[in-house]
């Protein structure tokens, strides 16, 4: 099974901010705070080299400002997309508050990035910059959960490969060794 090779790591950001930053502030504000939290997340992701899928949870965070979100979300995503990434990792964000989802989306858009986000009730959305066909393919995979390549045309429509390749390279879906397409939400 592909999933056995994945190391699931759940990170409660509100807990992390209190452990990582030299204060007891519950709000995720200011760039240095965001930087400290991101480094703490990266520290938690240090592992045995297995692929990791990490759920970054903002549920208990009251205030999330743009400077902090840029560090915790956008820079984290960008770091693990770069060729010198410390580990193969996939990220999902849980931002139940609508305002947090808005903030996450804005910082992603600024850097032309995208991420999968649980916006409440287990409803996952694609936030950030995503082309129309990519979004359509992602939503179909998200609804299906896991899709064998042979079912691609019937579920995703013809010509789905480029969009799926792009989603995979942006780490918005997981493609297993056999070519199975898996929604990140199905892996956590």
């Amino acid at each position: 099974m592909v999933e056995r090779r994945v190391d699931p790591i759940n990170i409660d950001v509100s807990e992390l901010v209190q452990r990582s930053v030299a204060s007891l502030y519950a709000n995720l504000i200011t760039r240095p705070t965001g930087r400290a939290v991101r480094r703490a997340i990266e520290q938690q992701l240090l592992g045995d080299g297995r692929m990791a899928i990490s759920l970054i949870d903002f549920t208990e965070v009251r205030i999330l400002d743009f400077s902090c979100a840029d560090e915790v979300v956008a820079k984290l995503v960008a770091r693990y997309l770069s060729s010198d990434r410390p580990r193969d990792a996939f990220f999902l964000f849980r931002a139940v508050e609508e305002l947090h989802a808005h903030t996450v989306e804005e910082v992603l858009l600024r850097q032309r990035l995208a991420a999968v986000c649980d916006v409440g009730g287990g409803h996952f959305q694609l936030l950030g910059e995503v082309a129309g066909r990519e979004r359509d393919v992602w939503e179909r995979i998200e609804r299906t959960g896991r899709l064998m390549p042979g079912d691609g045309d019937s579920v995703l429509g013809s010509g789905w490969n480029p969009a799926a390749d792009s989603l995979a390279s942006r780490r918005l879906i997981f493609v297993g060794p056999g070519g199975a397409l898996t929604a990140l939400s199905a892996m956590v």
């Binding site: 204060s23 504000i29 200011t30 009251r62 205030i63 743009f66």
Partner: protein
């Protein structure tokens, strides 16, 4: 001793009278004569602090202040924490620098911002009071309290990230019955740092050529979101503040060097750009949020 007369009204509309008064060749001890002050908003208060620091640095001599004769104004300044803050920049008796009693009508007392911890403290402190003022007085939604905190956080960070110098922030709500027929919240932020032109010159002046100056620097940051950092994630603070203040129908202005740029709603007569103002160091940000007329 040279005397700088403070106008009877010192707010975001009249603050230039203060900066203009500093244009003279001040030297030696200086007295800010605020005895006739009858109306002052957060812009006026942080302006008085910044002006004293500028004059003190320029002259190397004591800067003193005569406090308002009007008891209500004096009491208000005390509640806003002006005396405490003034003790750091004015040469005044220690007894004058007594701490404010954190009166319930104050949204955010004058608060020095030096570090990111100060920003955290501001946001922690303002939560309860902002919730009350914004929802009860201004008719904002509960979610707006969080957005207000985000705006406040981002403007305070502007001091630390871009000015690289300390500054002050203050906020208060007013009933602008005659002027607007509505309640408003006024937020003022002032720093004495390098200013927008100073912050952006190394990275961006080349592309503007001879046009480079305070106005173009403000436009670069305000309209285009440029910063001195190569990181593309930077510069969105002001952009997001503009969006949010615009959604609330508010006024946002930034003065730096000899220029001011603003997003002006219908109810404001402030021009979108002013130049040729008296030079004043750093940057001064003014945000005015009006009471909602409809649900939102």
């Amino acid at each position: 001793m040279r005397v700088v007369e403070i106008a009877p009204s010192l707010d975001y509309r009249t603050i230039e009278t203060l900066y203009d008064a500093l244009d003279d060749d001040l030297d030696g001890p200086v007295l800010f004569d605020a005895r006739h002050l009858r109306w002052v908003d957060p812009n006026g208060m942080v302006g008085l602090l910044a002006a004293a620091r500028v004059v003190g640095d320029r002259t190397g001599a004591p800067v003193r202040i005569s406090f308002p004769e009007n008891a209500d104004v004096s009491s208000y300044l005390t509640r806003m924490g002006f005396l405490t803050a003034a003790a750091q920049v004015y040469d005044m008796p220690a007894t004058k620098g007594r701490r404010s009693d954190r009166a319930s009508d104050v949204l955010l007392e004058i608060t020095p911002v030096h570090t990111n911890s100060d920003v955290h403290a501001v946001i922690e402190r303002v939560q309860t009071r902002a919730g009350r003022v914004l929802t009860r007085n201004l008719g904002y939604s509960a979610a707006a309290v969080v957005q207000f905190s985000v705006v406040l956080s981002e403007v305070c960070q502007n001091i630390i990230e871009h000015a690289e110098a300390p500054g002050w922030v203050a906020a208060q709500s007013y009933n602008w019955t005659k002027r607007l027929g509505r309640q408003v919240v006024v937020i003022a932020v002032s720093d004495l740092g390098r200013g927008f032109k100073g912050s952006l010159t190394d990275e961006h002046s080349g592309r503007f050529g001879d046009r480079w100056g305070d106005v173009t620097a403000l436009e670069a940051a305000f309209i285009h979101g440029l910063t001195r950092f190569p990181d593309s994630g930077r510069g969105q603070g002001i952009q997001q503040i503009r969006k949010q203040v615009g959604r609330w129908g508010g006024l946002l202005s930034i003065r730096s060097g000899t220029a001011r740029i603003a997003d002006t709603p219908d109810w404001s007569e402030m021009p979108p750009v002013e130049e040729g103002l008296t030079h004043f160091p750093g940057a001064q940000i003014n945000i005015i949020l009006p009471e909602r007329l409809s649900d939102g």
